[in-house]
């Protein structure tokens, strides 16, 4: 909601009578001197309003002495006094003004002056982006925000951190709020698909702004759920008194894999390597050639076949098409925007797809000058066909190594060849044709809000928001081959319905007293309820080989169990907020919130608060005029977090629970979750200091923030010792520290007819584990350890010390002193490696050139000082352990490994020997890679047709463009062969999956053409 409503009553004016309205005219220009079209003009204290035309001109009912409020398309608002009826040119956008973002209970994010650390990303970055989810767009555009994808399949989940990871469990993602609806943290909602990101339901084209709240001053309003940061999405709306306008736009993109440097062996190379593994046996008597021939004979290679297994299951062209339509307009009392969009993605794999249809409607209505209503509704339908990923034999991307190129796709009879070494019976081409994993997801997100000024300067605001999502999933394994052959065909169906609603209300007093004291006081309540319903059915021994439960075996002994589940958690809260600005120069604000959350132990209540202060120094008389802006600010607050609740994991922690268990055909009781009555909130205490400045007519401006963020009593699903009955329970086990600096800047070296606009950001964050309950304890997960005093998720593994040139044995450091080596993997102890999968430094840089109708923009992102690993590297480079399972290898082990009887000085890889059991291939620092990279995230060349065209055709605007996404990546580690922004889907979106390459669907490069017409 924007404040378009009067502080003075129109009624009062009417009663006072005898007021003569006149037409006030003027032209609005933006900071760069261009006419500002479509800006909304309203007059404070009246309901008169108008919209600027394409020349920025307007005419509105007002009188001298009134105040004009101008709101541009971004929602930026600026006020102008009316000294005369012909105003001439009004310069809009300087000084920098604030975008209005509404938080809980109608409270605005900032009033008058910036107090907190936040970043706003605008619609230009979202429109026609070839991405499935809005979070992907934030990558590189927000200082301190780190993004990586758990799967490149559209609609998969992502890991997003703001100012590092603040929790040991659950998603580190921020809380998403869409038009006041608290929609969660983008946590996986799927039961059959590898992952499904609920944010996929938000069409990026419908977004006006996304505000990323980082410090405590604003996030405290979200209390117990705001600690990871909050992302407030505001969708597009219409404006009052505007003729109805239409926009049609479309984008067509071609995709390929963004980064893959894995150099797989050809058949020729593979048998040479296989021969080497035989030849390297100490007792082998033949020549190397004999060994190769022996290996060829054993493997059954025909000497010709050289199958590219990935190529066999991928499309020649992967594509994404987006169509978008919208209409906006408004009358005197009502405004609206209606939009629809369709995205059709045909990803890399044969038969995989992603289609999204969405429709949204926003309407605002003024009942009276003091009573306004608003509503936003959004419906989305997604249908997607994905793959099993990670370690599943059927994962087509895994078959790059699970099947050697020596095996043909088809046997001599033309059937799918099922003799495939270690992966026999899982012919990926056959599986891709018959088996599938698909889902249809319907999502409704809607909210209604109302504001009433019930006494002078006293307001009541209420918002009811709801999200309803239905996910229908099917997985089908044909009986022809693979897993399905073992089960006579299997079909699994899941239906998941989630229903969330929140209702927040506030009463407030807002007044500007004597033009100097701007005072706002709010009191409010919020109630949230989250429900989850899941139905899971499976059948096998299918009578017909088709994906229907009804075709399942009816034989009593072959009926598979079906499951259902209902989960619910609630939170209710009370909050208060005070804002006070003196003389438009000095601001203070304070927030307090009490949350009561059903998922905690015996004590379910928590208090959260923040204070902030700001000083707008540029407004002081003593400041020189070249300083357009100088703003100092500080905030401190304590905000809560319930890190597990959004994933529906362990939401009952007060008690240890016993549920159904079975043994043979008898039913019994089993411990279904281990409780912890002492569980309390984890609390994030954050100090933020900030400085914003802008110089020399805004040619250069920057914001600098430093912060110190400490998570206290962080919750961990702490493992329980085996001897106390293995399991895990949520416990408050320790503290997590994040300290960092964020800088964002803009530079306008040329700002005339030729424009060069540079926007950049840079951030540093150090994420460490603070005091822990047990300072010696190490919780280990995927070779990352959590231990007091170490980096968060620091790699904890054995150290690789190279190859013994005499014997070819792998050498490992015995311990962290790295002084002694051993060939016995088990004799080496793991130790902390000083690196984590989360980048320490991140940067984003956008450079835009505009000349007449042509614009060219380049957007680079970079992440530095972090490390990544391939989850399957010990198979991909197995040193011969699986030589006879015929798992393909990367070619380096053939050309650069120890060979019996040769001079082996300086070889990188140890002896390759059949059945190698030395564990030389086991995970160690041998497989740790630097993830550091710079990425050309987006390049766009656009042309907007000029006035001549517009006049000739009657079309208001026509833009055509060509755009590239993820165009290029520079990596700094020569041995990094996979995408350093790829994660595993295996860990439900938790930090454990970060930087763990798992052969999920790859991150794509897209080149697209688009056109956008306004009329």
């Amino acid at each position: 909601m924007r404040t378009r409503f009067a502080f003075l009553s129109a009624l009062f004016l009417l009663l006072a009578g005898q007021v003569i309205f006149a037409q006030v005219t003027g032209t609005v220009e933006d900071a760069d001197g261009f006419p500002l079209a479509d800006a909304q003009i309203s007059v404070r204290g009246t309901d008169a309003s108008a919209v600027t035309d394409e020349n920025g001109a307007f005419s509105v009912d007002a009188q001298v002495g009134d105040v004009l409020i101008i709101t541009d398309l971004m929602g930026t608002t600026q006020e102008f006094n009316i000294p005369k009826t012909k105003l001439g040119t009004l310069k809009f956008g300087a000084p920098v003004t604030l975008t209005e973002v509404t938080l809980v209970g109608g409270i605005k994010m900032e009033t008058g002056q910036k107090l907190g650390a936040n970043t706003i990303v605008r619609k230009e970055d979202f429109e026609l982006a070839p991405v499935a989810t809005i979070d992907e767009v934030l990558n590189g555009r927000v200082a301190g925000l780190s993004f990586s994808a758990n799967s490149g399949h559209p609609g998969g989940t992502n890991i997003i951190t703001i100012r590092g990871v603040g929790s040991f469990v659950g998603t580190p993602n921020p809380l998403y709020v869409i038009d006041g609806v608290v929609v969660g943290k983008g946590q996986d909602a799927a039961s059959v698909l590898e992952s499904y990101n609920p944010l996929t339901s938000i069409d990026p084209n419908s977004i006006e702004t996304v505000a990323v709240l980082k410090d405590a001053s604003a996030t405290a309003l979200y209390g117990a759920r705001g600690a990871n940061g909050v992302i407030v999405v505001t969708t597009k709306k219409g404006k009052y008194n505007q003729k109805t306008r239409f926009n049609l736009s479309t984008d067509f993109g071609i995709q390929d894999v963004a980064y893959d440097k894995q150099d797989w062996m050809t058949s020729e190379e593979f048998v040479k390597w296989g021969g080497l593994t035989l030849y390297n046996q100490p007792n082998y008597e033949g020549s190397r050639e004999d060994a190769v021939n022996e290996f060829i004979e054993q493997s059954g290679w025909d000497g010709v076949t050289n199958t590219d297994w990935l190529d066999a299951v991928t499309r020649s062209n992967s594509s994404v098409k987006t169509y978008n339509f919208s209409a906006t307009g408004g009358g005197e009392n009502t405004s609206f925007r209606a939009g629809g969009a369709y995205t059709e993605n045909r990803p890399l794999l044969v038969n995989s797809k992603f289609d999204r249809f969405s429709a949204n409607l926003a309407a605002d209505h003024k009942v009276t000058d003091k009573f306004t209503l608003g509503s936003n509704v959004n419906f989305t339908h997604v249908s997607t066909t994905g793959i099993d990923d990670g370690g599943a034999f059927r994962n087509p991307f895994l078959t790059q190594w699970t099947i050697a190129p020596i095996f043909p796709v088809y046997d001599v009879n033309g059937d799918y060849n099922q003799v495939l070494g270690g992966q026999s019976d899982y012919n990926p081409v056959g599986l891709q044709q018959t088996d599938f994993q698909k889902a249809a997801i319907k999502t409704f997100v809607g909210s209604v809000n109302a504001e009433l000024e019930f006494f002078k300067n006293f307001y009541f605001y209420s918002l009811f928001g709801t999200q309803y999502q239905v996910i229908d999933e099917t997985s089908f394994w044909s009986k022809e081959h693979g897993d399905g052959a073992n089960y006579g065909g299997q079909v699994t169906k899941a239906n998941t319905q989630t229903f969330d609603w929140n209702w927040s209300s506030s009463v407030s007093y807002r007044n500007i007293i004597k033009e100097k004291h701007d005072l706002q006081v709010y009191f409010g309540t919020e109630y949230q309820e989250h429900k989850y319903n899941n139905l899971y059915l499976q059948a096998w021994q299918l009578v017909r080989d088709e994906p229907w439960i009804s075709f399942g075996s009816t034989d009593q002994a072959e009926i598979l169990p079906s499951y259902d589940e209902f989960l619910k958690w609630v939170q209710f809260s009370y909050y208060g907020k005070l804002n006070y600005i003196f003389d438009k120069k000095y601001s203070v604000s304070a927030t307090v919130r009490n949350d009561n959350n059903s998922t905690l132990g015996n004590d379910k209540s928590g208090w959260f608060w923040s204070v902030g202060a700001g000083w707008d120094i540029a407004k002081e008389n003593f400041m020189p005029s070249f300083l357009n802006q100088l703003n100092l600010r500080a905030s401190y607050g304590e905000i809560g977090n319930v890190p597990y609740a959004d994933s529906w994991g362990s939401i009952n922690n007060q008690f240890t629970m016993a549920g159904l268990a079975s043994y043979g055909s008898d039913s019994g009781l089993g411990i279904s979750s281990i409780g912890n009555p002492a569980l309390i909130w984890e609390s994030v205490n954050q100090l933020n200091l900030g400085l914003d400045f802008s110089l020399a007519n805004n040619i250069f401006g920057a914001s600098i923030d430093v912060y110190n963020k400490e998570t206290e009593s962080a919750i961990y699903n702490a493992n329980i010792a085996d001897t106390s009955a293995a399991g895990a329970s949520q416990r408050n086990i320790g503290n997590i520290l994040n300290k960092g600096v964020e800088v964002s800047f803009n530079l306008r070296p040329f700002n005339n007819e030729f424009k060069w606009l540079i926007d950049g950001n840079f951030s540093y964050n150090k994420n460490t584990v603070g005091d822990m309950l047990d300072p010696e304890e190490i919780q280990v997960n995927s070779r990352r350890g959590i231990k007091e005093g170490q980096l968060f998720a620091e790699y904890y593994m054995r150290g690789w010390a190279g190859v013994d040139p005499e014997t070819g044995a792998a050498l490992f450091w015995t311990d962290e002193t790295e002084t002694e080596t051993t060939t016995d993997f088990n004799a080496a102890t793991p130790y902390f490696q000083g690196k984590t999968p989360f980048p320490t430094y991140m940067a984003g840089l956008q450079s835009q050139f505009i000349y007449k109708g042509v614009s060219l923009s380049l957007f680079f992102t970079g992440q530095f000082d972090y490390a990544v690993q391939n989850r399957w590297q010990n198979y991909v480079t197995n040193d011969g352990q699986y030589a006879l399972s015929y798992y393909n290898q990367t070619a380096d082990v053939l050309y650069d490994s120890w060979v019996r009887g040769e001079d082996n000085e300086g070889v990188t890889n140890p002896i390759q020997i059949v059945g190698n059991s030395s564990l030389s291939n086991s995970p160690s620092t041998r497989w740790l890679r630097d993830g550091d990279h710079i990425r050309l995230k987006e390049a766009k060349l656009a042309y907007t047709f000029g006035d001549m065209f517009k006049k000739a055709t009657g079309v208001d605007n026509l833009t055509v463009y060509v755009k590239g996404t993820n165009l290029f990546i520079w990596v700094f580690d020569d041995e990094l062969t996979f995408d350093p922004e790829a994660n595993s889907n295996e860990y439900g979106g938790g930090w454990q999956g970060k930087g763990l390459f798992d052969y999920t669907a790859p991150i794509m490069r897209t080149i697209s053409l688009g056109v956008s017409i306004d009329f």
């Binding site: 054993q298 270690g422 019930f454 006494f455 009541f460 209420s462 073992n486 089960y487 006579g488 209702w503 209300s505 506030s506 009463v507 309540t525 021994q541 072959e558 598979l560 169990p561 989960l567 609630v570 209710f572 009561n596 959350n597 059903s598 009952n652 240890t656 629970m657 016993a658 549920g659 159904l660 268990a661 079975s662 043979g664 055909s665 008898d666 009781l669 411990i671 279904s672 979750s673 409780g675 493992n719 329980i720 010792a721 085996d722 001897t723 106390s724 009955a725 293995a726 399991g727 047990d774 304890e777 190490i778 088990n826 004799a827 198979y875 352990q881 699986y882 006879l884 059945g915 059991s917």
Partner: protein, 484 residues
């Protein structure tokens, strides 16, 4: 326009009242008390005999996990011996175990699994129900379950009682109600055995009538058979006689549903997919009941042992196979066809664990305790009691009854253990047979890794407490000296 200002005021007051009440009336404390629909707080679930029995069944469910008796304990009993090896053609399962690539980082999963059944037994035994005969019988089984779990745990994680080695390094023993936040230290081996024997005696005292009437549940015969093995293992003064006595009781005075398998039925008793022939048989004393999804097709024991199993890769060594003469009925439980050519010499499959049952596509019940063991325990006890003549006679009688080679008795203990090896191959007994008698073993062929001869009482006969799931989490735990 004329306004009635009084009316407006009243309207405003009314609206304000409604708004302010609506602001605060939605939040009530009781809304926070949400319990899941599919489970109940543990402290409230045991309310009657039926629910007490359900908790006991839950304990069996834990024992039936693939990492415990569902598959792995049986598999390890052969793999950590001279019996089986993992083929060179494998998909990585048991690969490190096969190479004895074990370190204190290794977690084989059975420690947590076995202690879970201890916890379930404790929950049952700490019930507050009235002491009826049904309750007593349930408690009897819980005692048996705890004794069984502790017996396997101490066998796996401590040195043998008669080894004279590291006897203060037993395993944790506790009997109180479930407390997940409490940690427990090791007790001495002797204390653990006292608890095991006391649990088994309590089991016998309480189990007057069977509650769950099939061989999937522990019963007095099973407890007696276990006691005969426990005493054979502890070997204190009088223990061999006690072992002999309990073996005799099993042989001579078991109820009618127990009996010895005949030679004609011997092969089908194991490899028939028809469950009428292979499950709940007289020969079986205790087995793990299996259904479709327990423990899951891919983790089932047959998945690894059977030639067509999803991870079929466990093979017996040629030398062991050749030691059977052709008349030995047990030789029919091997299959030489389809052995992976990547192994030199070739391995031999067993058909003891059929891939499917007549009831569907899942593994047959996993036999853990059999009547025949009583005879072999008796022979071993006789040997330890110095009655070598009787021992040799009975040993040869047993071998002949299977059609196998008889023994000269020049190395009688070795002969007894060889016969046990032939009787129980693939059933996970070999490791315990050797350890109990303070013996090591040699992998004559198909040896992966560098350790092919395992010395008696070496670290390979004891398992390390796993670093991540025990040592780092339990400050009271100490690593076994052989693994320090």
């Amino acid at each position: 326009m004329i306004f009635n200002t009084n009316k407006m005021k009243i309207t405003k007051i009314l609206i304000t009242t409604v708004l302010v009440t609506s602001l605060f009336n939605s939040c009530e404390e009781e809304r926070l008390d949400i319990l899941p629909v599919l489970s109940d707080p543990l402290e409230t679930v045991i309310v009657d005999e039926a629910s007490l029995n359900e908790m006991l069944v839950g304990g069996y469910d834990q024992l039936s996990n693939a990492t415990v008796f569902g598959a792995n304990i049986s598999i390890y009993g052969d793999l950590f011996s001279d019996n089986t090896f993992v083929s060179n053609t494998n998909d990585g399962y048991f690969f490190q175990e096969n190479a004895l690539a074990i370190s204190n980082q290794t977690d084989l999963g059975f420690l947590g699994g076995l202690y879970k059944s201890v916890v379930y037994a404790n929950i049952v035994l700490n019930n507050t129900l009235q002491d009826t005969s049904v309750v007593q019988n349930i408690e009897g089984q819980a005692y048996a379950m705890r004794g069984l779990a502790l017996f396997y745990i101490v066998n796996l994680f401590s040195s043998n009682p008669t080894s004279g080695q590291y006897q203060e390094f037993g395993v944790p023993v506790y009997t109180g109600p479930y407390n997940p936040s409490e940690n427990y230290p090791r007790k001495s081996v002797a204390e653990v055995y006292n608890q095991i024997i006391s649990d088994f005696e309590n089991a016998l005292a309480n189990m007057n009538q069977p509650v769950n009437n099939n061989k999937g549940y522990l019963n007095p015969t099973a407890v007696k058979l276990l006691l005969s093995r426990v005493y054979l293992t502890r070997g204190e003064a009088g223990d061999y006689q006690r072992s002999l006595d309990y073996a005799n009781e099993v042989i001579n005075s078991s109820p009618s549903q127990f009996g010895f398998v005949s030679n004609e039925n011997y092969v089908s008793y194991f490899n028939a997919s028809d469950i009428a022939v292979s499950e709940d048989q007289p020969e079986t004393v205790w087995e793990i009941n299996m259904t479709t999804d327990n423990p899951g097709l891919n983790a089932a024991i047959s998945s690894f042992y059977h030639r067509t199993g999803a991870h079929g890769s466990l093979l017996f060594r040629q030398d062991f196979y050749s030691s059977f003469n052709d008349g030995d009925v047990r030789k029919s439980l091997f299959s030489t066809s389809g052995a992976p050519t990547s192994d030199t010499p070739l391995g031999v499959w067993t058909t003891k664990w059929p891939r499917t049952t007549s009831e569907g596509n899942f593994t047959i019940n996993v036999k853990i305790l059999r009547m025949s063991e009583a005879k072999l325990n008796r022979i071993e006890a006789l040997y330890h009691l110095g009655q070598t003549g009787s021992a040799l006679n009975e040993l040869n009688a047993f071998a002949s009854s299977r059609g196998g080679n008889t023994y000269s008795g020049t190395d009688l203990l070795n002969d007894i253990l060889t016969e046990r090896r032939k009787e129980f191959f693939g059933e996970g007994q070999r490791f315990y047979d050797l350890k109990r008698n303070n013996l090591g073993y040699t992998k004559l062929t198909n040896c992966a890794g560098s350790v092919c001869t395992v010395e008696a009482n070496s670290k390979w006969m004891v398992f390390p407490m796993p670093e991540n799931s025990e040592m780092l989490l339990n400050p009271l735990m100490t690593q076994h000296p052989l693994w320090q």
